[in-house]
Amino acid sequence: MTATVSFRLYVAGEAPHSRRAVHNLNAFCERLTPEDYRIEIIDLFADPARALDDKVLLTPTLVVTVEGGSERRIVGNLTDLSGLADVMTRGTDRS
């Protein structure tokens, strides 16, 4: 049984890596049950102050929060999604 996961993806507008990341994240989430996750996309070009506030300097950055667990960050366009899967599993165990 998976807990609710929240994905917060910080992107740099339409930059290539950021677009890739959006695409890859969506692809990954297709395999999940809709109720089990939330995606929030934050465009730092549109809202640059968030970068300082949330301490996100590299883009794209994906912040994964598993409910009841801690935050994990993954930087990159998410080509290799095994890491993401890892995070989610570990996130579960840490409840």
């Binding site: 890859n24 301490k55 300097l57 883009t59 993954i74 999604l81």
Partner: protein, 579 residues
């Protein structure tokens, strides 16, 4: 392409001063405005300090706001370290300086390619808000390391560079050059050197235990620059680069004021004393009273009411004061009043560069007019070998610029040609060079002083004997024999001879005087006697005259009568004959 000397037709590029003493001169003005400068060097070379100091100076001296992006050390650590330099960052931080912590998370998981877009977006906000034109990326290599693919790292760096140019920022990027293969940037970052318009290479070597730092301009597009590696130090107030100031020496007026050396007869030999603002060098073997003469100078300066700094290298203050007291030079009241500032430092603990900085700081702090460094040759020991001459030269130049009269002593290693700090070279810097040595004659060692040179002064070129006693220092009178100045026992003998001769002459004179007085008295008595005789005789004559005239008269009449009678007889006879 780098041009070392910009052709006359190309306009000089705009520069932003770093405000770091000596560095702006090395760079002929400062950093290239609106361009990127790379500061590279190994760990602990001073890259962060240099970058931060530039930013701080810009904010303090020109009110220029700046942003510091910290990729390695946290901004808290950097601020704490900067506090030791006395920079008031707290107030600057409120309005002029912004520190961004951008240290990569050690637990960062990477998946695929990424860029610095977020950071640049954030920075643009800050730049607008502050109106900043200056930015520092400290330890950019930390970020570039995150890119597994060097190609990506390069790409991202070029993007960064373009962003900097687009935003017209004067930027400093610091990066580590750390491979043991001498001086090379970590592999993959060499493109940084090619990309930037200006690069500053910092080095930090430890030579025989002494830390020596130097910097060199690797390249500077569109500008001339100092090509040599220049020593620098990180002192109490930040980085200071050992460069510059020579050009200003031309406009110094030469003083004609004379300062006492503390030894009256030496002043006489120097036509009044040392010239104000001069550099005076005292050389000699150990024990030849160099420190004593230096102390005499210091004392004289304090007695004139002038702030004096006495820097003793390798001898503790108490020892120096005590030794000077034994020859009648008491410095304690001057130390107590604050006129004399004593500083002692072990030459082996720091680079010559650092000593120079310290001496300048103390001098400024106490507004000194007279400076003594004893012995300056200690700056050339061990790990500082070869550097001392340059440091001493700059010390002499700086003292002249400040109008400080500078006296230094230098140890000569016996009679050997290789001397500590090479006194021969130092002597060319000095205006007055006094040499002290021992003269060995007739089984004795006596101290001798000679003025080898003194610019701007006619000076006696005699070798004089230096005498030390509880009452002070003085130079002995000159006694010569056979063309040589006599010293020690020979001199004393000669002095004795002279004294004896003088005594004898006096005695003789006295006797002669007595004799003549006797003579005179005798003659006086004779004269008296003769006078009396004369008087008596005159009296007799007088009596005789009066008696004599009577007799004469009688005699004359008698003679006349007789003569008449005779003549009458004769006449009668004749007439008888005739009849």
């Amino acid at each position: 392409m780098t041009v070392n000397a910009a052709p006359a037709s190309v306009p000089a590029i705009d520069k932003e001063p770093t405000g770091i003493r000596g560095l702006d001169e090395v760079m002929r003005g400062g950093l290239p405005r609106g361009r990127t400068t790379l500061v590279e060097g190994g760990p602990g070379c001073g890259k962060t300090v240099l970058a931060l100091q530039t930013l701080v100076n810009g904010a303090m001296q020109q009110g220029a706001p700046g942003i510091f992006v910290a990729f390695e050390e946290s901004s808290l650590r950097i601020l704490a370290n900067a506090g030791t330099f006395g920079w008031d960052l707290a107030s600057l931080q409120r309005e002029k300086l912004f520190f961004l912590d951008a240290q990569p998370d050690p637990g960062l998981i990477r998946s695929g390619g990424f860029d610095l877009g977020g950071m640049l977006a954030a920075l643009e906000v800050k730049i607008r808000a502050l109106g900043a034109r200056r930015i520092v990326f400290d330890a950019l290599d930390m970020v570039l390391d995150l890119f597994d693919d060097p190609q990506l790292a390069r790409q991202e760096t070029y993007r960064l560079h373009e962003w900097l140019i687009r935003n017209e920022l004067t930027a400093i990027i610091t990066a580590k050059a750390g491979t043991k293969l001498g001086h090379r940037l970590i592999e993959g970052l060499e493109f940084l050197e090619f990309m930037v318009d200006c690069s500053v290479l910092l080095r930090h070597d430890v030579v025989e235990g002494i830390s020596q730092r130097n910097l060199r301009i690797g390249k500077f597009r569109g500008s001339s620059f100092e090509e040599n590696a220049i020593p620098f130090g990180i002192g109490a107030r930040g980085i200071e680069v050992a460069y510059g100031g020579e050009a200003q020496l031309d406009r110094l007026p030469a003083s004609t004021e004379r300062l006492s050396s503390g030894v009256e007869r030496l002043d006489t030999m120097l036509e009044g004393g040392y010239l104000r603002g001069a550099g005076i060098l005292l050389t000699g073997s150990p024990g030849t009273a160099k420190t004593t003469l230096a102390g005499a100078f210091a004392q004289a300066a304090c007695q004139r009411g002038e702030q004096t700094l006495f820097v003793t290298l390798d001898s503790p203050e108490q020892e120096v004061v005590r030794n000077l007291a034994s020859v009648g030079i008491d410095l304690t009241p001057h130390v107590a009043s604050g006129k004399l500032v004593f500083k002692s430092s072990r030459s082996s603990t720091a680079s010559a560069e650092l000593h120079l900085m310290r001496i300048r700081d103390w001098a400024r702090q106490h507004h000194i007019r007279c400076l003594v460094v004893d012995p300056v040759s200690a700056l050339g020991k061990s790990g500082n070998r070869g550097l001392a001459h340059n440091v001493i030269e700059r010390l002499v130049d700086w003292a002249k610029l400040e109008g400080i009269t500078f006296l230094c002593t230098s140890l000569l290693d016996g009679d050997s040609a290789t001397v500590e700090g090479s006194s021969v070279q130092i002597s060319t810097l000095a205006d007055t060079w006094i040499h002290l040595n021992y003269v060995v004659r007739s089984g004795e060692r006596n101290r001798a002083l000679s003025i080898i040179k003194s610019r701007g002064t006619g000076h006696s070129n005699q070798v004089r004997e230096l005498l030390l006693s509880r009452d002070g220092i003085t130079l002995a009178d000159v006694y010569t024999a056979g063309g040589e100045v006599l010293m020690g026992t020979l001199r004393w003998e000669r002095e004795e001879e002279a004294r004896q001769a003088e005594a004898e002459r006096a005695h003789e004179a006295r006797r002669e005087r007595e004799r003549l007085a006797d003579e005179a008295a005798r003659i006086e008595r004779q004269i008296d006697a003769l006078r009396r005789e004369l008087g008596a005789k005159r009296e007799t004559i007088g009596r005789l005259d009066s008696g004599a005239s009577q007799i004469t008269a009688d005699a004359a009449r008698t003679v006349m009568i007789r003569t008449r009678m005779r003549l009458g007889d004769q006449a009668d006879g004749l007439s008888e004959d005739l009849a």
